[in-house]
Symmetry: C2
């Protein structure tokens, strides 16, 4: 165990590079500034997903622009110029003091959450986006919006963002005018039409948890189906491949920030498909890096090609396990 | 109005055939044997979707095999040899006396409904499938199962069906041993991997209502987005095209039984994509037939090609409206 721990520590300083010199980036998913130190210790080269829900939950008053700015800028400053991707508020739980659904929703996951919440509660969104923009003056901030299903929604949210920028300009507050905007690909329609979003975005980030949920019509919380067998469903693999191919053709970076990105069994496959950035819980990064450093890009591409020919999650899982075992990459 | 009504009545006896002689079939969606007469009067050539939920709702005791058989066979006999596609129980409402969810489901539409219900409550499924099989001795019955997301689920349900057939054989009861089994394509993963199901099915039927709901992550019941703009999202059109192409390559028939099939604005497009059967509420069939009889297959194919190049639901809707208006097919 100690040997293993030491190996992982040594790994954190080494690049996430294949044996034939292909470089990817490992990023961390976080909820709170307090997690930055451990993300850096595990070798994170940036924050690929900074969730902002925690600032809003379990309290009676809305967090103001200054309070939010303080929260975001702590992460940005601690990351010292490394990229920090902030996701605007996503929420699909019981009703909150700040945003009551307009009407009873029998299926909250198919209702007013993500971008729909952002668009329906303009005041909350305007405050949040101004706080994020102000934090962008202190480092390399990028922003993405949850649950985008249509290009129109992205256009609308970007115009609200431009309005917030004008308000900051008038108030004499600094922000990065070239802040990058990403498409969080987590609704099947966005994955299926990823190329239609290309003119509107600077990068793509695939959120596999929601993507799996909607593509298979299975609540994440529901028992029964093995979660790994959901992620490895050929339909998910095809959607992931499509988004990566679209990003490559559009010369944009593509990340993955869902649980699949932190699953070592999927690393060879994702590498072979051409994923540029893996964003996962910090604790998962050393394992992922170990896999990446043990293989060549050529091998990974062969694995990806073969995986895409398989017809079911079980076959995919068995095949990937075998490829890992034959390389002594136990997990 | 009377002229229009008379025109529709005359239409009911004419085939659903394009001006250049391409023939499709118009089928009706029904919930109850009492709807057969009006379906036939509107020119339905079969029942494309016989929902069976109504037999189970609003009562305290399970409908037995004989009672279900009586219900199904009424439709089969009244259709006199025309096809009747029966869908096994789909249910996603408040808990029922017969099937309590195993645990609280925060999002019933992503939970234990459709085929998952069928597989979880084997006794209910076994009774229903035996009743359907017995009805198949009296006409041309086909069967399909709701919410299939994985080939494994279809294989499992088919093996349960074989077991029911053996039980009927032992009991000396008649059924059609060649009863056709269809894939109800209403989960994005099934649409994305439609060709993987080909060895297991005799036909495809696209259920657009649920397909839209999951592909766009929008509850059907939720307000806000115009339902037509959901159906015409390029992601939905691509999935529909994929299923139709797969069916053609596998030399199997493909139907559509969602609301899109009864939407005259979509008829030219669906015809051009190669849909074989349109199944809708009986009242919608004359309008659909009118559109089909007014155009050539060649024109419809051109419309479909152009539609697929458009980048948003609004553009699609405007373009299809214009094609309809230029042909004086007002709606
Ligand atoms: Mg998500
Ligand atoms: Mg359905």
């Amino acid at each position: 165990y100690l040997a293993c721990k030491k190996e992982m520590q040594m790994l954190s300083d080494l690049p996430a590079e294949t044996r034939d010199g292909y470089r990817v980036q490992l990023l961390a998913n976080i909820d709170h500034p307090g997690e930055v130190a451990s993300a850096l210790a595990q070798g994170a080269e940036g924050i690929g997903l900074f969730r902002t829900e925690h600032l809003f939950l379990g309290r009676d008053t809305m967090p103001g622009e200054d309070e939010q700015f303080e929260f975001y800028v702590q992460v940005v400053q601690r990351m010292r110029g490394r990229p920090v991707v902030i996701r605007t508020l996503d929420y699909a739980g019981p009703s909150s003091p700040f945003f009551q659904p307009m009407h009873y929703e029998p299926n909250p996951f198919l209702g007013c959450r993500g971008i729909r919440l952002n668009l329906n509660f303009e005041e909350i969104f305007n405050t949040q986006i101004k706080a994020i923009l102000r934090a962008s003056a202190f480092g390399r901030v990028k922003v993405m919006f949850p649950l985008i299903s249509r290009v129109e929604d992205l256009r609308r949210v970007k115009s609200m963002m431009r309005q917030a920028q004008e308000e900051l300009l008038r108030a004499g507050k600094n922000f990065d005018p070239d802040i990058e905007v990403g498409l969080l690909v987590e609704v099947p329609s966005a994955a299926l039409t990823a190329e239609l979003f290309a003119p509107e975005v600077d990068f793509y980030s695939i959120g596999t948890n929601d993507l799996v949920q909607y593509t298979l019509a299975v609540d994440r919380a529901s028992a029964g189906i093995n979660p790994l067998n959901q992620v490895l469903h050929p339909a998910i693999l095809r959607l992931v491949k499509n988004v990566i191919d679209v990003a490559r053709n559009a010369r944009k970076k593509v990340a993955m920030c869902g649980e699949m990105a932190g699953e070592p069994l999927a690393t060879l496959l994702l590498l072979g498909l051409g994923l540029n950035q893996f964003s996962a819980a910090a604790g998962a990064l050393p394992e992922i890096k170990k896999v990446i450093r043990a293989v060549t890009l050529k091998e990974a591409r062969e694995v990806a090609l073969r995986t895409l020919q398989l017809s079911g999650p079980e076959e995919v899982r068995r095949y990937l396990e075998q490829e890992m075992k034959s390389r002594r990459l136990y997990f």
